[in-house]
């Protein structure tokens, strides 16, 4: 259940505006600064990963990859940045698909 709530927090952050939606924390300049886990049924670890924009941990916690990508971009990471954060987490998917010639 909390994995769903964690993903909902990120979705609300990505689609919300400061003061107009839950899940959005304002920065000193009043702009959208990061996710605010207040009111979401998430664990302390999940809250910390979201608040700290810890993309690697969010991936390990099971956040959907499309949300990972959008969240990383919204927090100012380039794909090369988060690729480095994730690169040692798992080997490339194994298998021999029908289109592989060798």
């Amino acid at each position: 259940m909390s994995q769903y709530q964690l993903q909902k927090l990120l979705y609300d952050f990505l689609n919300g505006r400061v003061g107009a939606a839950p899940g959005v924390r304002a920065g000193a300049d009043g702009e959208r600064a990061g996710p605010d886990p207040t009111g979401y049924d998430v664990t302390q670890e999940e809250a910390a990963a979201a608040s700290g924009a810890d993309v690697r941990r969010l991936y390990q916690l099971g956040v959907h990859p499309v949300l990972i990508n959008a969240f990383a971009r919204a927090m100012g990471y380039q794909r090369t940045d988060y690729a480095r954060m994730l690169q040692d987490l798992e080997p490339a998917t194994e298998g021999r698909p029908r289109w592989r010639s060798s």
Partner: protein, 285 residues
């Protein structure tokens, strides 16, 4: 009744707008020339509206209610949602009569898409729409497909959806010429450790089958096998929707480039439709 014009499919990637120059010059010239050639056909053939089939990126829907298909029936659609895309954010005109025809008639064809008066647009649709009409005046029907969240509609189901869309659009009396376009794929990985990889072998295998019109082994691909070409490869659903719409016509490949800085196999195909032999004619036969 409406005639289908300018049918094509293109890969999309945010970087094709936001960071064009990041691609090697020869690759970006080749791909973008293909996109422009396809888009110019839509303009020259006088499309009065365009339906763009593309995938959802958690832009409109979350897991509390995630439709497999959704038609945008609104009078306009706001986008792109990405402020960094380098495409002006604005209200893009809708084509509510055509969209409502799709929502109303597809159930009789065996499909029940959801519908929304408030769809927002992201790079998935806007990059290709902008190529077709940089002035953003051409009425647009966004047709959203689930290509990311399991369970997804099967590849064969998406192909059959294209056949159904053709029958509905060709039965539409509110325009003389309508373009139906696909946007998404090809191979890529997104939000996972393999991000940045491209499976050119898959892309060529897939494009060859589109050219030959021999799609059975593609349509039978289980999702786990398709995912070996990347979790983004699920977006070939939009390509197969257009392949179904165009059948028995087969694809002509205008461009293919595996553009690593854009993390995607970037392809463009067009179709020349034979109005006498499409699904509409076949159903009436």
């Amino acid at each position: 009744m409406a005639q289908l014009v300018g049918t094509f499919v293109s890969s999309h990637a945010p970087m094709m707008a936001a960071s064009v120059e990041s691609a090697p010059p020869e690759q970006r010239r080749s791909f973008l020339a293909g996109v422009e050639q396809a888009a110019r056909r839509v303009r020259e053939q006088g499309a009065e509206a365009v339906v763009i089939c593309s995938n959802e990126h958690f832009t409109n829907f979350f897991l509390e209610n995630f439709p497999q298909f959704c038609v945008g029936v609104g009078a306009s659609h706001w986008g792109p949602v990405e402020p960094w895309l380098k495409i002006e954010q604005n209200e893009i005109p809708g084509a509510p009569e055509l969209a409502s025809q799709l929502a109303a008639q597809l159930p009789a064809e065996g499909f029940e898409p959801s519908f929304s008066h408030e769809l927002r647009l992201d790079h998935g649709i806007v990059t290709i729409y902008h190529a077709i009409d940089p002035s953003h005046r051409l009425p647009l029907v966004p047709f959203i497909q689930n290509c990311a969240v399991k369970p997804m509609p099967s590849l064969r189901r998406c192909y059959q959806l294209g056949q159904a869309i053709r029958r509905v659009v060709e039965g539409f009396g509110g325009a003389e010429r309508v373009a139906v376009v696909g946007a998404g794929g090809l191979s890529h990985w997104i939000g996972v450790p393999q991000v940045g990889r491209i499976d050119s072998e898959f892309d060529h295998w897939f494009l060859e089958r589109l050219e030959r019109g021999q799609l059975d082994d593609v349509l039978d691909l289980p999702d786990d096998e398709l995912e070996l070409a990347g979790n983004g490869a699920h977006e070939i659903r939009s390509w197969l929707t257009i392949a179904g719409l165009a059948a028995p016509s087969t694809a002509k490949v205008l461009a293919y480039e595996p553009i690593t800085p854009w993390i995607t196999g970037m392809g463009v195909v067009t179709y020349d439709l034979d109005p006498a032999s499409g699904p509409a004619a076949a159903k009436g036969a």
